[in-house]
Every structure is written in C-alpha cells, then in structure tokens.
Symmetry: none
Subunit: 225 residues, 2 copies
DNA sequence: TATAATTCTTAAGCAAATTTTAAGGCTACT
DNA sequence: AGTAGCCTTAAAATTTGCTTAAGAATTATA
C-alpha cells in the first residue's frame, strides 16, 4: 500500500510518514504543490491514497486535486486542512476529494479514515504462518514451533512480505519496492544477504529451505497444501 | 445492552435486528423519523447505541441526530447511509454522529463498529498488572510486589499505556501521540529518557528489563503467560 | 509573591545493533 | 566450459537507542 503525502510543514509530514511507515505503508513525500502534482501524475496508478495539504506554496491543494481527478477517477484523496469552517471542507470535497481532516488531528483518526477509504476496514489479518513458522503483527513476534525467533526489522518485514504472499512468487523488484521502499531500478545484493539471514534463523540444517529460490525471478514460500 | 434502530426499509431493519438480537442485544425499532426521535428522547439514558438511517420519511436522520445531541451528549450514534459520496458522511459526523456506514454493509462490519463505540462506554478496567507490578488507575498508585513505587505523572501514563497494551508492540509514534499528546513530533528523545526512568524504578538489577526494546519499532511489556 | 523543589524536555556523547556494500566462491543453466 | 545469478562472509557505514546532565517549566512551599 503506497501513500503520497503533499505537505509543506515538515514536522507534520514527517510525523505522518513515520506513523504510516510503522503501519506498513510505503510513503512518498512532496513538500510543495508542484512536486506533489508531478509525483501524483507520474505514479497515478501506484498510489492507494493521497494526503493533500490545503494550503501549499506554489500550487494549492484544490488545484492539485482537480488536476489529479481529470487523470484518474478513483484514487482516494484526503485533505489535511488547517482552516476551520465547514464550508472550506465542502469546497474541498466538491473539488473531488473523498474526505478531509482538520489539523491538528490525531494519527489514529487519520489512520481510521485511511482504512475506511481503502476498505481495509475489515479486520486485518494479524497472524501469518507457513509450516511451523508463525508471525504475529500485533505482538511483533515470530515463532518456529513454539520457540521464539529473534528477527531484525528488515528480516521481519521481509518474512512478513513472503507470508502475505504465501504460495506466490515474490519478484526481486517487488521485494525491493515493498520491503525496502525503493521504487527505481536498483541492483543490490541486500536481498541475498537478508534471504541468507532468514534461512539461517528459520531453516533446519539438512532439510530444504522454507524459502525457495526461483532463479532469475525471485523467491517463494510454499503454502502448506 | 440496548440498541435503537431508526430505519424505514423493513428488510434492512429486520436483518439488522435479528442479527443484533442473536448477539444478545435488546433492540427497539422505529420505521420513521418521528417515532425514532420520540423513542430516543423518551429513553435517552437507556440506549447504549443508536443506528440512524440517513434518509427517512418525515424527519431525516441528521435532524434527529442534532436534536438527540442537544439532550444527551454521550450516546453513540452510527449513521446508515445509502448515499455514496463521502461528503454526506462528513456532514453526518459534523452533525454529531460518531460513525457512519454505507449501505450495503456487512453485518460483521456493523457489529465491529458497534463494538468499538461501546468499548468506550464500558466500565473501565481500573487495575492493570504485569508480573509483580500493579498499576491502579483509581488510586493512582503503582506497586511492585506490595511495595509502593513512586512515579511521576508522565512515568505513570507511560506505564499505563504499556500495561493497557500488554503483550503488544507499542510503536514510538503511538506512544508520543497517546502519552505526550504530540501529533507532530516523531523524533523526540523524550521516550528514551522516560523508558530509562521507568526501568530504573521497576527493574531489578541483573535481571532483564520488564520493558523490552524492539529496535526500530518501539517497546513492549510481555504478558505473563 | 518569592523561592525551592520537582518534573519535564532537550541535547550530546557513546555503545551497540542493524543495514548496506563489496568481493570471492559456488551453482545451475545454456 | 562459460556465464549470469545466487550464496556467503566480513567489514564499513549508518541508524537507533541508552545514558547523562543541564536548562525550562511547572508545582509546591515558605
């Protein structure tokens, strides 16, 4: 799930980004209207949601919203506005936004509204497993046959990604994009290193690895039939 | 738990009533706005939740909502709306509702939202504990194995937050938001300082801390299995 | 009201863990 | 056999958290 934030106040922008990243979203940031519009238009099909500040240097939120709407009808847009009369909000909605939220807002509320718009509202899966391995998002734990396994943050995200896509091929480019949040072509051996780390922690010596290599493509964790 | 449904479409009304009754709620039904408002006002303190249709013959949902809000501030109200632009929902919230749900909705989702709103009204837990540590909201005291522990206000709130989320990860962003009420300050080191203080007061030298650090994410207090 | 005490926040140095880079060896495929 | 892609390892770079101490801010006390 990828989110674009267009917000010039860096304190707010960073806070929101941090929070959303902790929740597992990948986040792009633009600190002015022009950049924001550019990003939005360039990656219009990529974003699952756009958070738009109302007042922006250069190009204001409404104009961005209108322009985006001309290109793509469906991406949900939420206005972040400091103005406090309802009329403004209505104006924002008329320009094609889906929701708005007034500053200062609580992160929780923002998240709730995002979830509503993403229809992600249905209680999210919090436990993933494959074989005797279990990953719990809420507790942030991984166990292998009852025994806890200590994973670093990146190891955890990578395993989570595999388990969310259990049975499916996970392409290297996708992995880099989803787990490392890098969206341009990037050839690096980080993945290899982390696959190695995961295997060391999760596999039993002698047995075949829980993570299958698919040469030239990526990796896969088999679903237990 | 008593719920009032104000809804003119009998098929929906019955569907929801059946479902809620099976879940153990007692349900009152009104099939038009006037009856609905009457019931709501007559039994204002009785209802734990009100489900309000948006478009109603006679008196519409918003008006009912506004009137009810004038009499009683706290009864949770959920709008059921067939309109499909979000600005309607926003208006609904503006008029004092707590949540809204769009038709067609799954019963499951409705139930989930009801539970969320009711949880806020539930008689609150007043004592939290983990291991030999006990925190009493009412008395505003903390003890470690019978012995009192003196905590400052912030230390107390932080510990309270951990204990309310015993067993789950507490992400830094959430902590800053819930305990410090800061919405735009994600990289503050206050947390570290207070973690340090809590550990000094609660941990036993030599033993592992009651508060586990989850690098890159936050902290956690393990639930005593 | 002034002063003292306590509590809260900021900042900085340090330590440690994580992440990335890089390089050489290995393996499967053509 | 050659080669591209993958594995493994180790060291460099970076991030993150811990600990302190000092200055602000708040609260209590004289």
């Amino acid at each position: 799930m990828r989110i674009l934030i267009v917000e010039d106040e860096t304190s707010i922008a960073n806070f929101v980004r941090e929070g959303l990243m902790e929740e597992g979203f990948s986040v792009d940031l633009a600190d002015n209207g022009k950049k924001g519009l550019q990003l939005a238009l360039d990656n219009i099909t990529e974003y699952d949601i756009i958070l738009l500040d109302w007042m922006l240097p250069g190009l204001n939120g409404i104009e961005i919203c209108r322009t985006v709407r001309k290109e793509n009808k469906s991406v949900p847009i939420i206005f972040l506005t400091a103005k406090d009369t309802v009329d403004d909000a209505v104006f924002g909605l008329e320009s094609g936004a889906n929701d708005y939220i007034r500053k200062p807002f609580s992160f929780e509320e923002l998240l709730a509204r995002i979830r509503v718009l993403m229809r992600k509202n249905e209680t999210e899966l919090l436990v993933f497993s494959a074989g005797d391995i279990e990953l719990n998002i809420d507790k942030h734990t991984v166990t292998k046959g009852e025994k806890p396994v200590e994973l670093t943050q990146k190891e955890f995200s990578l395993l989570e990604y595999f388990l969310r896509n259990k049975g499916k091929v996970c392409r290297r480019t996708r992995i880099i994009e989803k787990v490392w949040d890098l969206h341009f072509d990037y050839d690096s051996s980080v993945i290899d290193v982390y696959i190695n780390a995961l295997r060391k922690k999760l596999d039993e010596p002698g047995k075949t690895s829980i993570i299958t290599t698919i040469r030239g493509i990526g990796y896969k964790i088999e679903s237990d039939e």
